[in-house]
């Protein structure tokens, strides 16, 4: 692939200097691609994210993003986790604005352009259905709403790479499906690159272009599966046979991993 946006070459990482948490990672992600990582707990999915964002350097191998070797935190990324991690003393709007107070070049302009930035944040909150909650505090919101706000915070500085580590893991099934659609629409509109870590195979198959399956520790990529389902996908379509067969195939692959 010529135009790899994220490019891993024989990457391994060992936290303790003895055995590898992940190893032999060779993959490339195109700009605007939506990839999902699934695998057993402790296989190194979060570790992969740390490598990708430059929060951790690989022990061996090379990580490149946008053609440049990664050394140090990558500001073109936004991150969201299973816990929304909103700051309780800030309103939802101020929480969403937080990255702009930190990342350059917005940081320098923050005071001057605050109104304009607040406009961006409100627009973003609007697209995830939180327009009326901008001035509320996080603890006045439900878990699903907090997660929406957390995704807005990850996107406010218009990152080219969005990293999501089990973002919907703590939500009930209905809220989760709602947020799949929110994420799908955001991605369809803005076409940033997404790396999604999840335990939910339906989630991976519904959202992603490519699903990577990882083995138990030391984590390796044991399967790369393109999801050829047409877009835009609807929640309805997840109850159709082609989709169910696909999830089933992924499921049996994970089952093999757990047995070996």
């Amino acid at each position: 692939m010529a135009s790899a946006f994220v490019d891993f070459e024989a990457v391994a990482l060992s936290y303790d200097g003895q055995d590898n948490a992940i190893e032999g990672i060779d993959l490339s992600i195109a700009e605007g691609e939506f990839v999902a990582f699934v695998g057993p707990s402790g296989c190194g999915k979060s570790t992969f994210m740390k490598l990708c964002t430059g929060l951790h350097a690989p022990t061996t191998g090379r990580v490149r993003v946008d053609g440049e070797p990664v050394n140090g935190p990558l500001k073109i990324t936004g991150m969201a986790f299973q816990n929304a991690n909103l700051l309780p003393w800030r309103t939802v709007l101020d929480n969403v604005l937080l990255p702009l107070e930190i990342v350059e070049p917005y940081r320098r302009q923050f005071r001057r352009r605050r109104e304009e930035f607040a406009g961006w944040a409100r627009a973003l909150l609007n697209t995830v259905g939180l327009a009326d909650y901008a001035d509320k505090y996080p603890w006045q919101l439900s878990g699903g709403m907090q997660q929406r706000a957390s995704i807005c915070r990850a996107l406010i500085h218009r990152p080219r790479l969005l990293m999501l580590d089990e973002p919907f893991g703590a939500l009930d099934a209905f809220t989760r499906e709602e947020l799949w659609c929110v994420l799908r629409d955001l991605w369809q509109a803005q076409r940033f690159t997404v790396v999604l870590v999840t335990h939910d195979l339906r989630e991976a198959a519904f959202l992603a272009d490519t699903v990577y399956v990882m083995s138990a520790r030391p984590g390796r990529v044991i399967e790369k599966r393109e999801i050829a389902l047409p877009r835009p996908r609807s929640i309805e379509s997840t109850y159709e046979k082609t989709f169910i067969d696909l999830v089933h195939a992924l499921r049996s692959r994970i089952g093999d991993v757990r047995e070996s």
Binding site: L74, M79, N85, P88, W89
Partner: protein
């Protein structure tokens, strides 16, 4: 049963105080306890009025030495807490030391302080400081050290420096801990001052009680006790109010 009304709830502490005073008075009268052992409430009140002048003077002395000691404690506690709490290494390195230091009864420092600084206000201020800075350090450091690693990742990936994380997340997050510790620290500071005054001063409520006690004027001793606890209570309420004002978000709109 009907829940007690709002007014009753507000009056309840005063009723409790009145009840205690009544039991006190009744017990002393019933068993005919001599007043040089345990004065009645009435005798204590009389002493409070008769000696209002000296009590006022000595209380003022205790009050300002306590506040200076407390102020020092807050400043040092805050700085030390920030330093220790913002580095895992320092946190692990210094924590046992602090705990060990805290285990020393602070009275044990008074003779040393007297040798260094002589009798008077300085040992009182320093004892108040020594006794009250510990809870502040621990609370501020804990507030900082328990930062969620994921929140840190979110900011660090954006190029946040240590100071950014400290100012945007660490400090505001540790504020509730800080204000909670102020309430504890101010009462401890009073303990420190009074303890020091009883052995190493010729001013202050502690000194007043000590000398009144040696003359068997127990009414005055008890009057001193009441003044100390009143001062400590008022200051506690002040900081409790301040805590609610400053960190309302931590109480989730309750």
């Amino acid at each position: 049963m009907k829940p007690p009304s709002k007014t009753l709830e507000r009056l309840a502490p005063w009723i409790a105080v009145a009840a205690l005073v009544m039991i006190w008075e009744a017990t002393v009268r019933l068993f005919d306890v001599p007043s040089f052992i345990f004065p009645s409430a009435l005798e204590t009140l009389q002493a409070l009025i008769t000696y209002a002048g000296p009590i006022g003077r000595h209380s003022w002395q205790t009050f300002w030495t306590t506040l200076i000691g407390f102020g020092l404690g807050v400043a040092v506690g805050l700085v030390l807490g920030l330093i220790i709490g913002s580095s895992r290494f320092l946190y692990n390195a210094c924590y046992p030391l602090l705990v060990g230091f805290n285990a020393i009864p602070k009275v044990a420092f008074v003779p040393i302080l007297v040798v260094w600084f002589g009798i008077g206000s300085v040992p009182a201020i320093l004892t108040a400081f020594l006794i009250c800075f510990f809870p502040i350090v621990v609370n501020v450091a804990t507030g900082l050290a328990t930062l969620e690693p994921e929140m840190e990742d979110v900011l660090r990936v954006l190029g946040a420096r240590r100071l950014d994380v400290l100012l945007k997340v660490g400090l505001p997050r540790s504020l509730p801990y800080f204000f909670a510790s102020l309430k504890i620290a101010i009462t401890l500071a009073f303990v420190g001052t009074v303890v020091s005054e009883t052995v190493a001063s010729n001013q202050g409520i502690g000194y007043l009680m000590m000398s009144a006690g040696s003359q068997m004027r127990m009414g005055l001793v008890f009057a001193g006790l009441i003044v100390i606890s009143a001062m400590a209570m008022v200051m506690y309420e002040c900081f409790s109010w301040l805590e609610k004002r400053m960190t309302g978000w931590a109480h989730r709109g309750r």
